[in-house]
């Protein structure tokens, strides 16, 4: 889900090359006109494993994993791993330095007291970063998300490292994928902005985590989001608040709010039952209200929320495990693990951009 849009900043520059009209273009330029990139239209039939790979002709795409982990003492940790692909031109991937794709990796670990984030940039076409099928591998430098089995998402290895942290996790799941929105067509605004979007919310992760030289053996639920688009935001949209929640009941909730410069935010979500059945949540079915703000990186961030979905008898409060989960990268945003209290306790991840 989430962050990825940032990537767009890169998209921005492409469009940004014609320095005319420095009009606001949505967060990180994601509201840019899609030029001749492939448009996102309803009714596309997904095909796996091909759709796990990169999609030529689309401007942006990402492979995005979060995990809510606990060590043997029950301490909470969060892990994020993201690979963005940003095409500078709507052309097929080409080998060599003439390739017009930039790859961007974000990785972070969060504990109650510490948050470390790192990023990697690479050009496509030479092997420094990319996504390959059979066996599936998404990588940038020595960060990777790679399949250990024939079935791409059944048994995965996830790793990243930087100066102050590292993690090596094994992610397994035997459950089917979840197509978000309308069979994978996920709308982002009333004007029809959309992306193709599927998830695997049922991963179980285990492995080790190093923070500032300390090693922890950890395990917990993880969530994969895959999304690609050519223009997911309108120029009017300034950022979003995005939730992926693992409820102890075995159910999962994904919901997001697109904030607009004018007018009410665009709010939508998906209810994923324990058996994988999904139900799209419309704006009027959801109540999403910030409850508390904290000053993070010199700006007020809503780090505690109240969420109610009366149809599902859900009435919870979602609170950041570490309020300072600021991703201080070239494109900065807030992203970290959250704890859920109320009718449906559990845990999850929250991403907030455009603040």
């Amino acid at each position: 889900m989430r962050t990825k849009w940032l990537v767009l900043m890169i998209a921005l520059l492409l469009g940004g090359c014609d320095q005319s009209a420095p009009e606001e273009k949505g967060f990180a330029g994601m509201g840019d006109q899609a030029q001749s990139f492939t448009p996102v239209v309803p009714g596309r039939v997904f095909s796996f494993p091909a759709d796990h790979g990169a999609h030529d002709g689309f401007r942006i795409e990402w492979w995005y994993v979060t995990a809510n982990l606990k060590d043997q003492q029950g301490n909470d940790f969060g892990v994020q791993w993201t690979l963005f692909r940003s095409a500078l031109k709507p052309v097929a991937e080409q080998a060599g330095w003439g390739n017009q794709t930039i790859w961007l990796g974000h990785a972070a670990v969060t504990s109650r007291s510490v948050h470390h984030a790192a990023e990697r940039y690479a050009r496509g076409g030479v092997g420094q970063a990319g996504v390959r099928l059979a066996p599936f591998e998404a990588w940038i430098d020595d960060w990777m998300f790679a399949s250990q089995a024939q079935d791409p998402l059944r048994d995965m290895q996830l790793s990243a490292r930087d100066k102050n942290f590292a993690y090596q996790l094994r992610l397994t799941s035997s459950r089917p994928l979840v197509l978000q929105g309308d069979n994978g067509f996920s709308q982002k605004s009333e004007e029809g902005q959309a992306s193709y979007y599927y998830s695997q919310p049922f991963f179980q992760a285990s492995g080790t985590l190093q923070i500032d030289g300390q090693t922890y053996t950890v395990s917990g639920p993880a969530w994969l989001d895959r999304e690609w688009s050519s223009q997911p935001l309108t120029a009017n949209q300034t950022g979003w608040d995005w939730f992926s929640l693992h409820l102890d009941s075995g159910e999962h909730v994904m919901l997001y709010r697109m904030r607009q410069k004018t007018g009410a935010p665009y709010l939508t979500g998906t209810w994923i039952a324990a058996d994988g059945q999904i139900q799209t949540l419309r704006s009027e079915q959801i109540s999403l209200v910030p409850q508390d703000t904290a000053k993070v990186a010199d700006r007020p961030m809503p780090v505690k929320w109240s969420i109610r979905i009366p149809d599902k008898k859900l009435d919870i409060s979602v609170d950041a495990i570490n309020r300072n989960a600021w991703m201080d990268l070239r494109i900065p945003y807030w992203e970290g693990p959250v704890k859920i209290n109320g009718s449906h306790p559990g845990q999850g991840y929250l991403e907030m951009t455009g603040y």
């Binding site: 890169i10 520059l13 090359c17 500078l88 330095w97 020595d142």
Partner: protein, 822 residues
């Protein structure tokens, strides 16, 4: 009020003596212009080095490269990145643009996305927009404005290479290193026709980690300090320029000193009158200081302007020698900071103060009621001479001490400065000592007057003669050193470059194939492969060459020093090395001792069996047997083949080579071309030195001219009595010329041994310290004769105008001098 009046009275002197006024100005002007000119050249070069080393990230970068500097596959970059090494690839090479076939321009390809984050490139911050613009087609070629203009190109142009490749549009960048084209790595691989090849991998400065084992013998780390060798290697070159600049400064100050001293002498009466009128000594001095300061400002201004001009005229030669000698690019257009202009004028002020200090001191001590008494003044002069004699002795002692105990370039310059200044100061003492016995022996009256008057002229002329001595000695010294070096260098080239053909294979695979192919060619009488590795020996960059045992080396590789018999045999069979003279001096090692060579398997300590000359190479040069080299670096392939072949067979072999390996032209070099290059580099190196040298001689000529001119005005009163006694004006003129020539010839005679001593200092001390090689002292009599002739001509020209005006003096003027006598 008194201030103004006093100043006015003092300044009126210059109105009446414009020649003196211009002498002071000329002295200051010459002193400042040569020194600031040289400083401009040096600072320009240093700025260019700094720019080149700070291209990426604003500071010299640590990097990984192959041991022999060869290109390596791009795959290694990916492998290292995938092992977590934050490396960024660079490909560097040279290309020739269509229409500019006479120069090869450096190209640097970088990959801006993988550069350490926040790395500025050529002083430009690299936000992602600029990065994308840089590498997305059409991309851009960053170039310094200066280089773009030199190539006659404009922003947005897309020049073509001789191979038909088109460059991305040019974009001028303020802080680009000169002579360099910066492009994306992909573009560089295309332009240089090196697909998927890299020359280095840059590392962030704070990254320290052991290289993965699989790369251990493939790549080696160069720390950021080593990258900055250029500054170190070129240091001595710039020091030499500095020395020439200071010499000229000194000569210029002699002129100023002479002119100011004379002006003071002539104003003694005025100063006394002013003091008698109630002007305090302090105010008088203040006025004189102000006067001097204004003169210095004007002279300094002219000096800085012409220094700028001089630098811009010499810059192409200096840049060419730096490029030829060190591969260093220097911007062809002067860029000087305001600081340079101020320091130039400051230099002039300081120089004027230094040159005038003595006169000011004398003015301050001027006894109020003392009568002008030439005889008393002469006595004072002999006291002065004695003191000068002592000073000269002290300076020569310092020079001697520097010779015995000195062991650095600075001590070499102390030696030279002590020798030159000591000799210059000793000159009037010596001349006076020479004239005295002659005077005693002279029988004729006119002869006695001739010599006595000569001695009388000494004080006024001595400074000009000292300048002449210095300039002549410097010319003899530098001339004999340059000519000697040229001869030594040519002999050495003749011997060393005796293979007919030199071939550089394009890559390791080709090297292997070529080696066996060449060995099968019946026309090639000998194939001498070279393997090469770059290492750092005790902080000095050096190239280690692996060679095979062949009689060629015994015949054509002269050794300066060796240990034991058959050093070449030992080199082939024992743990032995030979090394270049400059490296041996730098490391302070001798034959018989051991050298520590770092290899991937640890340190290897072979014995030194020979030392050979390697003129003109700023890097160290080491020879070892190829077996030893390949034991340390087994993956190496030959980087060059030297071929012995009958010259008549060369075209046929070249055709076969081209047909088989499709080598590009600059990979095949024949002997004549190589010699041509070497000689060209040499000539350009000394072009700037020669130009500066003749300028010093010119300055000395001007000094002599001005001294004679100022002197001639005060000479009338001494010549008038002779005229009254019946000596004709023509005779007087000839007598005068004879006097000047006598002094000049004596000075020249003294300049000869001094010049040869200086040449020895340059050959055996300065060259050794600056470049690491000692040259045999060679004296070229013809050159000396030429120089002497030139000096006499200069003296003649310098005395022409004063003599002419003497000749034209009206009898009435001569008579009037009697009326003025008080």
């Amino acid at each position: 009020m008194i201030w103004r009046q006093t100043l006015r009275a003092l300044l009126s002197h210059w109105r009446r003596h414009p020649v003196q006024f211009f002498s002071v100005l000329t002295g200051l002007w010459l002193a400042t212009s040569l020194l600031t000119g040289v400083e401009a050249l040096n600072s320009q070069a240093r700025d260019s080095y700094a720019r080149a080393s700070q291209m990426i990230g604003g500071e010299p970068q640590a990097s990984l490269s192959t041991p022999n500097g060869a290109l390596f596959p791009q795959r290694w970059f990916i492998e290292l990145r995938r092992q977590g090494w934050p490396v960024s690839p660079v490909l560097q090479g040279r290309l020739t643009l269509k229409g500019q076939e006479d120069q090869r321009i450096q190209v640097m390809g970088i990959e801006p996305v993988s550069l350490p984050s926040d790395s500025a490139v050529a002083g430009q911050a690299m936000p992602i927009e600029r990065i994308v613009e840089f590498f997305s087609p059409p991309g851009s070629t960053w170039i310094s404005l200066d280089t773009m203009q030199m190539l006659g190109l404009r922003e947005g142009d897309t020049p073509r290479t001789v191979n038909g490749q088109t460059l991305p549009p040019l974009l001028a960048q303020k802080d680009m290193a000169p002579g360099l084209l910066l492009v994306d790595i992909g573009v560089a691989q295309r332009l240089l026709e090196q697909p998927e090849q890299l020359s280095r991998l840059l590392l962030p400065k704070d990254f320290h980690q052991e290289l993965p084992a699989s790369f251990n013998d493939r790549l080696q780390l160069k720390s950021s300090g080593e990258e900055n060798n250029l500054e170190r290697l070129t240091e001595s070159f710039h020091l030499n320029l500095d020395a020439l600049g200071f010499l000229s400064f000194l000569v210029g100050l002699f002129i100023v000193h002479a002119a100011i001293g004379l002006a003071l002498e002539q104003r003694r009466g005025l100063l006394r009158t002013l003091r008698a009128c109630g002007v305090s000594a302090r105010m008088l001095i203040a006025c004189l200081v102000v006067e001097l300061g204004v003169l210095a400002l004007i002279g300094g201004l002219f000096g800085v302007i012409s220094g700028y001009w001089l630098a811009s005229v010499l810059l192409p030669d200096v840049a060419a020698s730096l490029r030829g000698l060190y591969g260093a690019e220097v911007a062809g257009q002067l860029r000087l900071s305001p600081w340079w202009w101020f320091s130039g004028i400051g230099l002039s002020l300081l120089g004027a103060l230094l040159a005038g200090a003595n006169s000011l001191l004398r003015a301050a001590r001027l006894p109020l009621l003392a009568v002008a008494d030439p005889q008393a003044w002469h006595q004072q002069y002999s006291r002065w001479l004695r003191r000068q004699g002592w000073l000269a002795t002290a300076l020569l002692t310092i020079a001697l001490a520097a010779l015995i105990w000195g062991d650095s370039l600075s001590s070499g310059f102390v030696l030279m400065a002590g020798l030159l200044l000591g000799a210059a100061l000793a000159l009037p003492v010596l001349l006076s000592a020479l004239l005295n016995p002659l005077l005693g022996r002279s029988r004729s009256v006119l002869g006695q007057w001739f010599l006595a008057d000569c001695r009388q002229q000494l004080p006024a002329l001595s400074l000009a003669l000292m300048a002449l001595l210095l300039a002549l000695a410097a010319n003899i010294g530098a001339g004999s050193m340059t000519a000697g070096f040229r001869q030594t260098f040519n002999d050495w080239l003749e011997q060393r470059l005796s293979a007919e053909l030199y071939i550089n294979p394009a890559n390791p695979a080709q090297a292997r194939e070529m080696h066996s192919w060449l060995r099968q060619q019946p026309n090639v009488t000998a194939v001498l492969p070279n393997w090469q590795v770059s290492v750092t020996l005790q902080g000095w960059p050096a190239d280690v060459y692996g060679i095979i045992d062949h009689s060629y080396y015994r015949q054509h590789w002269p050794l300066l020093d060796s240990s034991g018999s058959d050093p070449w045999g030992k080199l082939a069979t024992d743990d032995a090395v030979m090394l270049s003279e400059q490296l041996a001096r730098r490391l302070k090692v001798k034959p018989g001792e051991h050298l520590n060579v770092p290899t991937p398997n640890g340190t290897w300590s072979p014995r030194i069996v020979g030392i050979y000359a390697d003129y003109g190479n700023p890097k160290g040069h080491v020879l070892i047997s190829s077996e030893h080299l390949l034991r340390g670096w087994p993956q190496l392939t030959p980087n060059r083949f030297n071929l012995r072949i009958d010259p008549a067979q060369i075209p046929a072999l070249l055709n076969a080579l081209q047909a088989r390996f499709a080598l590009d032209d600059n990979r095949i070099v024949d002997q004549a071309r190589l010699k041509g290059w070497s000689v060209q580099v040499f000539e350009r190196t000394f072009a700037a030195t020669a130009a500066l040298n003749s300028l010093t001689l010119a300055v000395a000529g001007v000094a002599l001219f001005i001294s004679l001119l100022t002197q001639s005005q005060s000479r009338l009163s001494q010549l008038a009595p002779l005229w009254a006694l019946g000596v004709t004006r023509k005779q007087l003129m000839l007598l005068n010329l004879g006097q000047t020539w006598l002094l000049a010839v004596l000075t020249l005679l003294l300049a000869l041994p001094l010049g040869i001593a200086l040449a020895w200092c340059l050959d055996a001390v300065i060259n050794v310290q600056a470049f690491g090689w000692r040259l045999p002292l060679r004296v070229f009599p013809l050159q000396l004769l030429q120089l002497m002739g030139l000096a006499l001509l200069a003296t003649l020209l310098a005395s022409a105008w004063p003599l002419y005006s003497l000749y034209r003096t009206q009898p009435a003027d001569l008579l009037r001098t009697f009326a003025h006598e008080d």
